[in-house]
């Protein structure tokens, strides 16, 4: 009996080990090795730390790196600010049918691919696009307005893309909050603000943290939105990785960039957990 359950355990474990080993661990080891070599001449490579040195000394790479990190944190914060009231309304105020409909409305945009959604934004915002024409028609603008290719547009795209991933965990945690606890808060003389601060937010914390982690990762690793909406001034770290690998055929530097991004996201997620005083275990389940 005991040996049987052992076999079952290993059988269940195998897919996980294969998945992690073949698709995550081995490719990463390979990437690490690539990032640690330097091209000498045709087909001749030497082990060295040149790539990391280059990545850390060239101001351009560092600036892009920092810019990507800051913009991703900002996108996460904005997403949280917008998603929290939405999630609260869906979880607490809306009842029955309406609740389901609202939740579906959040979900529906994600039925189409990210590419199509981003194109949708481009059609709306371009110089000859819908909003520009509307502004001219209403007389608010006397010439075509270009709304694309700015950091603000990029931010709109990033927030829109990651909205669902913030709303879902928030709704789940907020739904588990007993209404009577909120009422008790008011009965004890609390006002809207103190109830929010002392009861609702602490209760929703696991949802907030896991939502933030997911949204942050998605923004940091996003390629499409910055490239398409950001235009000539978009410079996103993923774009630089793509450029090094595909356009410049410089896999060594691209691999080094990849590891820097991995390190950055790990550090920021760790920092986020430290800041909120939570452990990864609590957050993940």
């Amino acid at each position: 009996m005991r040996s049987q359950s052992r076999i079952a355990f290993y059988l269940l474990l195998t897919p996980l080990v294969l998945w992690l080993g073949l698709l995550i661990i081995i490719p990463h080891i390979d990437m690490l090795l690539i990032s640690l070599r330097e091209r000498i001449s045709f087909g001749v490579y030497e082990t060295s730390l040149t790539q990391y040195e280059k990545a850390l000394t060239e101001p351009l790479y560092l600036r892009t790196f920092a810019r990507t990190a800051v913009m991703s944190v900002l996108a996460t914060a904005i997403t949280l600010l917008i998603a929290f009231p939405v999630a609260y309304y869906i979880a607490k105020m809306a009842k029955g049918r309406l609740q389901q409909v609202l939740f579906m409305l959040c979900l529906i945009p994600f039925y189409v691919s990210e590419l199509v959604r981003t194109f949708g934004w481009m059609i709306l915002l371009r110089e000859t696009g819908i909003i520009s024409n509307l502004l001219q028609w209403t007389g608010l603008a006397d010439q075509p307005v270009e709304l694309l290719y700015t950091d603000a547009t990029m931010m709109v795209g990033l927030v829109y893309t990651s909205m669902l991933f913030m709303v879902v965990p928030l709704v789940t945690t907020l739904e588990s909050l007993d209404d009577s606890v909120v009422e008790a808060g008011y009965d004890l003389g609390g006002n809207g603000l103190s109830v929010l601060r002392e009861i609702i937010i602490p209760h929703a914390m696991p949802g907030i943290v896991s939502g933030c982690i997911v949204v942050f990762m998605l923004s940091l690793g996003n390629y499409l939105t910055p490239t398409m909406l950001g235009g000539k001034d978009s410079l996103w770290f993923t774009e630089m990785i793509y450029n090094q690998f595909i356009v410049r055929s410089n896999w060594e530097l691209g691999a080094a960039f990849g590891f820097m991004l991995l390190l950055l996201s790990s550090v920021i997620v760790w920092g986020m957990l430290r800041l909120t005083g939570r452990t990864l275990k609590e957050t993940m389940g």
């Binding site: 045709f42 087909g43 351009l60 600036r63 892009t64 371009r126 110089e127 000859t128 270009e146 694309l148 290719y149 490239t227 235009g231 000539k232 001034d233 410079l235 630089m240 450029n243 090094q244 690998f245 595909i246 356009v247 410049r248 055929s249 410089n250 896999w251």
Partner: protein, 353 residues
């Protein structure tokens, strides 16, 4: 008994055709393998063709990732064969005796073969050729833009576009009076030229609406009038010309940049015979004319001009008077190492404010 023999022989015959018919995995550009040509080829030879559309950089990255596997025939530009072959060994030599060489324009065939020879082996034969230069709305920008650097004219602020890729660097270098191709062998000199180009492109950045990435993106920008002048391929300009007679392709004063897309055999290709069959098939003048109609560019097929549409020929002649043809700058093979210099320049331009 007779039935058995008959059945066996049909079975054997069936097996024989199966053995000859291969799947040809073709890595190519949009328009180079139109559906009707693929259907004709499949019917005539029994091979099956799987088409994957791509561009130069992605073709090489894909082949590099697999050591030259995954495809049986690829079509990078002729300047991208020698370097990657020496560096990564992703192609295999072409057995020119298996090709019907009479189908090619002789001068183009010998030039491409010379440009793609590594250690005595030929790695590429020409297929489609064309140029890049300027596409503009002549009604709105015709008087200002004669050369690449005129895209930086303040009169056109916010109305121009180009790609942030190496053709732009090369084009601007020529327009600034330099000869980057002559400096290919001299890294210090090349760096100096690229430094000048970087300064110009950085200064020019305020003029640019956005850097275009793909052909369709550019078409939308020009067609909607958001962009009035851009660096682009000749075919892009000719296609837009059909929609709006004011828009056309113009060869810049410093010379259009000429490219030739080739046929190469990836190192681990598994259907070489099918690949040779495909090359010999599409180089026939009638078939080549169909590809010209789909892609918009002329091919290296001898005698295909006769079958090309008159309207396309007329546009070609309008964009290229004889002196413009003589002034075309053909890309020589890119030596390794130069792309790293160019990459740094492009990154810095993109990051500049």
């Amino acid at each position: 008994m007779i039935r058995t023999v008959l059945m066996t022989s049909t079975l054997l015959a069936g097996l024989a055709t199966v053995a000859q018919a291969d799947t040809l995995r073709l890595l190519t550009w949009g328009g180079y393998a139109p559906d009707d040509v693929v259907a004709m080829f499949e019917e005539q030879t029994g091979h099956t063709v799987e088409v994957t559309k791509s561009n130069n950089e992605e073709m090489i990255a894909k082949l590099r990732a697999t050591g030259g596997g995954g495809f049986d025939l690829a079509q990078p530009s002729q300047d991208r064969i020698m370097g990657p072959q020496m560096e990564f060994g992703i192609y295999k030599p072409i057995d020119t005796s298996k090709l019907n060489q009479d189908l090619f324009i002789p001068s183009m065939l010998s030039a491409t073969m010379a440009n793609t020879t590594v250690a005595g082996d030929v790695y590429g034969v020409p297929h489609v050729w064309g140029t890049s230069g300027l596409v503009m709305n002549t009604a709105m920008a015709g008087d200002t833009v004669k050369d690449y650097t005129d895209l930086c004219d303040p009169a056109l602020a916010g109305k121009v576009s180009y790609r942030l890729k190496r053709p732009t660097l090369i084009g601007f270098a020529f327009a600034l009076g330099e000869d980057p191709f002559a400096a290919y062998g001299d890294e210090a000199k090349y760096k100096e030229i690229m430094g000048k180009v970087e300064a110009k492109l950085t200064e020019c950045k305020a003029n640019v609406k956005t850097y275009w990435g793909g052909g369709d993106e550019l078409m939308n920008l020009v067609r909607s009038g958001e962009v009035t002048a851009s660096m682009a391929w000749d075919t892009g300009g000719w296609k837009l010309n059909d929609d709006n007679a004011d828009i056309t392709f113009v060869a810049p004063a410093s010379g259009a940049l000429g490219w030739i897309d080739t046929f190469v055999l990836p190192a681990k290709g598994q259907a070489d015979d099918a690949a040779y069959d495909w090359i010999n098939f599409v180089m026939q003048p009638e078939i080549a004319a169909k590809i010209t109609a789909a892609a918009g560019n002329f091919t290296a097929s001898a005698g295909a001009d006769e079958f090309a549409e008159d309207s396309l020929k007329a546009k070609y002649q309008a964009s290229f008077p004889q002196e413009a043809i003589d002034n075309i700058k053909w890309y020589p093979p890119v030596p390794a190492g130069l792309e790293a210099i160019e990459g740094d320049v492009l990154d810095r331009v993109q990051a500049a404010n």
